[in-house]
Symmetry: C2
Amino acid sequence: MFSFEIIQQSSATHARAGVMQTAHGPVETPVFMPVGTLGSVKSVTPEELAACGTQIILGNTYHLYLRPGREVIDRFHGLHRFMNWRSPILTDSGGFQVFSLAKLARITAEGVSFQSHIDGSSHLLSPEKAIEIQGWLNADIMMCLDQCTAYPASYDGARQAAEITLEWARRCHAAWKSSGNGHQALFGIVQGGMHPELRRTSAECLAELDFSGYALGGLSVGEPLDRMLNTAAAALPLLPAGKPKYIMGVGRPEDLIDLVCLGADMFDCVLPTRNARNGQLFTARGVITITHAEYRQDPDPPDRACTCYTCRNYSLAYLRHLFLSRELLAYRLNTIHNLHYFVNFVKRIREAILNGEFEIFKKRFYENREI
Amino acid sequence: MFSFEIIQQSSATHARAGVMQTAHGPVETPVFMPVGTLGSVKSVTPEELAACGTQIILGNTYHLYLRPGREVIDRFHGLHRFMNWRSPILTDSGGFQVFSLAKLARITAEGVSFQSHIDGSSHLLSPEKAIEIQGWLNADIMMCLDQCTAYPASYDGARQAAEITLEWARRCHAAWKSSGNGHQALFGIVQGGMHPELRRTSAECLAELDFSGYALGGLSVGEPLDRMLNTAAAALPLLPAGKPKYIMGVGRPEDLIDLVCLGADMFDCVLPTRNARNGQLFTARGVITITHAEYRQDPDPPDRACTCYTCRNYSLAYLRHLFLSRELLAYRLNTIHNLHYFVNFVKRIREAILNGEFEIFKKRFYENREI
């Protein structure tokens, strides 16, 4: 059921525009995917997501497995109806959170055992279990269980994690094939820290398995920008050209431009939502810190050219007042603006690729920066 | 510019249905007014308020005077444009908050001096100043500065507060008349604790001044229900019959029914919004506590007959999950439902009065209670 078609390939770079078909409809790429950790993109409704141009959102397997859990989700035949989002959903595998959030994560032959960060209860996440959970979540795109390495990581540490990730990818692939969940896509994940040769090996081995798409995990974990780009540049060309390529957890608008140049098609990041709740607004001029005194009486919206609900209806002065007063509406209005910015930023990258104007787009992006 | 017309008077009780005309449009009474303390009804947008059937909201003078303050509000020619709510606004006088929230409140000949609860800065709120602030807030309905007595209060304490309130009412009235703010209405406030004779005196003296409407303050401050109703029953008949009568800060649905019976036209209360944020949902069956385990897998909305956005789109199971996960969306979805319930509850009271079926409405209300 899942398919991917490249519509336009940029001549000067590896940038490309395409369309994925999923069980819940099409997704035009390059695409930015807002993060809905617990079955809610924090502070906004599905209608508001759609109004921002959102095509697909993320759900977090680790979180949803622990809370609300399978019994509840089963009553709704998956995450879509539970949260009232009828468009595509991608779920991560839970690997990242098990190693970063849970307590006492320990790798065993079967998978990884851990204790819930909520109530300390013991659980085991195996490749097969990750596929099973994402099965009952009914994700349109599932991710393989992986082990993400922290930064910096030794060569040996990164190699070990990449090897475990590869083994788990093979087991996820087998579990997927035997599950009969043909309408759900499965992506493999490249690991290997910031070591290009490990990344290359990881990518080559994964490419031998017929995944629906491929992702780079373990980026944007504290490394300098050039190391991130070098690492991505090492792995991306070795992944099957005709499959969607997803950079997990990245990043700033400028990072998205650079990664699209390297051939990336999909992105997710908490930056627009989390920074919104911290009072930071992304605009063409740069990032606005809403608490700054200069906005105290400013009757202008965050971005005059922006067509989001927030910019059409509210001033910087009001947004500043709401944020300083800790009004709940502040977090929502900021989130709507930032999501609109990110989703449409990547949408405009796509249009630029389609029109053969990606280089111009990139040049203008930097010219517009003031803040 | 302000006017009030009674359209229907109930035969069995003092209940009545009417229409107020304000500078920002009509308000049909009886009416429930959501509270927007800091220029935002917590967690919801103006569009969501309107979708709940909201005709008029409250703003809090004390809060808005301190933050964002006059300079900011002046840039927007008042509160309406600042917060993007183009329908009527009623502002309280700030008296209640000065005595309950501010530090070192002290009554002087001029008014009441106090220190801001935000930064400790010193301020003076006089009757004239209360009118001035509500002037630049551009409230459609302004309230006189009053001194609310705590419960229980001695006869002498309540008498003193009622006398000060009456003196301040006269000064507010004079300031209003000389301000030239003819498009803004001004309501007088009856005080007198739970002492019916003090309430009667307060009401009679206020009635001699030609206010746009009249309010009962200092109710629902911890007194038993019968004392509240006795107190309201003592004062309401002595207020001019042709003027709107507003019960401040009340209350539960059952209280609204009783007070409408006594002739009340307007209500405000934080109950629907605050309790929403505490996980309590008002329904025809009674109050739902969303954390209860019985709702864990419940696919039904809070109220099957309810037409609010929340009930049309979400299940009790999802609302419970959001609330337990402390997701921001929980507070909004609960607030939308509760506001829809309160606003439409009073709207249905109005329809029942118009159809001569208020007694039947009251009977059915109690019959439907299950929780």
